[in-house]
Structures are given as C-alpha cells and as structure tokens.
Symmetry: none
Subunit: 226 residues, 2 copies
C-alpha cells in the first residue's frame, strides 16, 4: 500500500523538485499548479495528504484549504501548507484554517518529508512505514492484522510473533535455536522440533488463499522467509 500525495505548486522548478523527492521516498505523486484543479483532484483521487502552496493559480491556497475541509470527502485529508511569506499571522491563519503544518520557504525537502511522515504516523499508521511486507503479504503490528493478497488471515499469538520475527529479518535463515530464543524467549524450555510444528501451522495459515509457500526450509540450518 503506497501513500498517495497531491502536490499543489505553482513554481515549475519547485514542483519538479518536490515531485522528485517524494517519488524517491516511495510516494505516488500527483501534481498541479491550479487551485480549482487541486480541488477536483483531491475529491477524485482521495490522496493520503496534500502539499499546498499558498500562492497558486486561480484560487489562493488558504481558500483551497478551507474548501477541502468543508467538503465531506476531503475534510480529513492532512494538509501541509507552503509559503514564501514568513509572517506569523499567516502561519497562524493557515493552521487555524485547518492545515496540519505550515512550512516557510526556503525549506529543506528532507524536513518536509520528515514533517509529512510525522503527520502520516498519526493519520495513517499503516502507511507510516510500520507495516511489514513481503510480496503480497503484509503485517500491521499496531492493528495486529495480517493480510495476504488483501485477504485477512487469522493467526494465533505464536504464529503472529513468528511471522513478525521473520518479516523483521527478511531473507535471512534463522536456526531453530535462534527462533526459540527470539520468538519464545530466552528462558523457554521448548523442544527445537516444536519450531517445525509452528512453521507448519504458519505455512498452512498463509496459504489458505492459495499463494505460493513464502517460507523456505533450509535443510540442517533452519528456515527463512522469502
């Protein structure tokens, strides 16, 4: 699941710079320089966040912000406003109009990215990079949910911990001993063969949708995911 971003920026050079940076961060970016078009795009595409310059064509940024907040389908989208004007009154007005953050030019793209990430952590925890993925499998540690190809997969507590352990170490072969200490705990007196059984159960659960086996058995060494 990729976060979609709408950038509303008038200045071609800055727009290009922003698009480049955010795409490099893995965002799916749409860009426009026009306020009216921004409203249409926001309603159609339902982006996960909007970067909005104060000075743009047709409609002032603050008015776009206000209208986004008023329309039910966009009322909750996070908005970061950009401006060349450093006036305190403007910043406060922007924030009070419903912007989530207000960044003054010149700014560092990395800081803007960090600020967006901070906001997405709140509004879309699943998009903030906490979700663990491999191929069509995703695990959300906050919601305690696992999906394969979009379909929810119910897992028991041990299966869940085991899968999370693997997803945090993708591609790496883990011995049964490592898995016992990592998943069951240092002080557990579990038979190493028990790992086999949990692996089997996890495999069965992950394959109810019919996909290929994601867990690789490495003979006389252990198991790995992917």
């Amino acid at each position: 699941m990729v976060a979609r971003l709408l950038i509303v920026e008038d200045d071609p050079a800055l727009a290009e710079l922003l698009v480049w940076h955010f795409e490099a961060e893995g965002y799916a970016v749409t860009q426009t320089s026009d306020g009216e078009e921004a409203l249409l795009l926001a309603a159609e595409e339902a982006p996960d966040a909007v970067i909005l310059d104060w000075m743009i064509e047709n409609v002032p940024g603050i008015e776009v912000c206000r209208r986004l907040r008023r329309a039910p389908e966009t009322a909750n989208v996070p908005i970061i406003m950009l401006t060349a004007r450093g006036e305190e009154e403007d910043r406060i007005r922007g924030l009070e109009t419903g912007a989530d953050d207000y960044v003054t030019k010149p700014f560092s793209p990395r800081e803007l990215i960090a600020r967006l990430a901070a906001i997405l952590r709140r509004t879309r925890p699943a998009l903030a990079g906490k979700t663990l993925r491999i191929e069509d499998l995703e695990l959300d540690p906050v919601a305690h949910r696992v999906r394969r190809a979009g379909q929810e997969i119910p897992l028991g507590p041990t299966e869940f911990r085991l899968l999370q352990h693997f997803l945090e170490r993708p591609g790496r072969v883990l011995s049964r001993g490592q898995l016992v200490t990592g998943v069951w705990g240092h002080d557990s007196d579990i038979e190493e063969r028990t790992v086999d059984v949990q692996i089997k159960r996890l495999r069965a659960a992950l394959n109810i949708t019919g996909g290929k086996d994601l867990i690789r058995t490495v003979r006389s060494a252990g198991y790995s995911l992917g």
Copy 2:
C-alpha cells in the same frame, strides 16, 4: 473537556510564559524542568500532549522523546519539541524520533498554540467536540450521546469512556493494561480481567440494534475497535 498539557522547559522565564499562555487558552498545565521527572509525570498524568524542550536537566529532550515513545503508556502522546538550535539535521532527527512538530526559538506563543491545536484536532478530536464515528456508530462527546444506525444507545459512564478511548484509536490493539490506565486512570488498582467484563457490557450495549460486533478480541494482546 479540558486538555491536559505537560510542559518540559528548563528556562524559568520561558516556562512561566508558556504556562501563562496555555492556561489562558484553557489548558490544564503541568510543568517541570527535569527530564526524569517529565517521564514520571507523563506516565502518571497521561497528558493529552507534551511540549518538550531539547535542552533540559538530566536527560536530553530527544532522549525523553524516545523513552516516551517506547513506553506503552505514553507511546501515543503528541509531542512538540522546542529548541534554540535551528539546524536542519536536528529538526529532522527530532521528527524522526517521534515528535509531532518541531518549533525553533524564538517562536511566537500564539503560533505554538496554533500548532498544538492542529495536532490535537487529529489526535483528540473529541476535545474539540467533534463527533467520533466508525461505520454506523457515532459518539457525540459534547452531548454525551452514542448512536448506532441512528438509534440512541444508553451507556454507563465507564462504557462511554471506554468507547471514546477506542474511537480515538480506531483499529489499534490496546492491551488490558493500556486500557486500565487510559480509561480508569493510572492510579486505579483494577484487575485486568475487569476490562473483559466492561468489554462484554459495551459489546452487549452496542449490539442491541443487532449490528455486527465492532470490537475485535486479539487473543493474548487485547482488544481493538474495527
């Protein structure tokens, strides 16, 4: 509904200024100049937000931020960091450590207030009197009413607080311990099993209309809404 604020600020003059301004805005303010004490206060009082100076006694602000994020009791509290250092690297580091905003001195108190309000709009919509919704369920924090599919549902005080707590954290799995501190208060000596019983009562109340169960049990972890 009054928002509680923890201000962690070393400089007496600035601390006094901030306390004055935020109390004038209607916040219930606690203030300390010490990092260790800040962590204790945050755990005990469960404030709705923390204003955290980078340079404070005993523990650097960034370390306080990190520890707040790590402890389950305070992992979710919004944090605004303050600093005299305008370095881009610091700002990015602060935001990536888990701060929600990062304000450089000198700043205007009004802007800080506006930034805090912007964050609280996201994290505690109920404080602003905004109706909380999920699917066909809505909770009006002002009128203290809950409806499901338009029909009013009578709830006891504890059930109401529990539901509001869930609605402010949709989808998130909350452990019984987190629920006890969040709903009953840090100083309550409630059995964790009691949570089960209130969950059952809340479920029964929400399902009188016959809809599906909105509360999900996550075995060995806790409960979540949606």
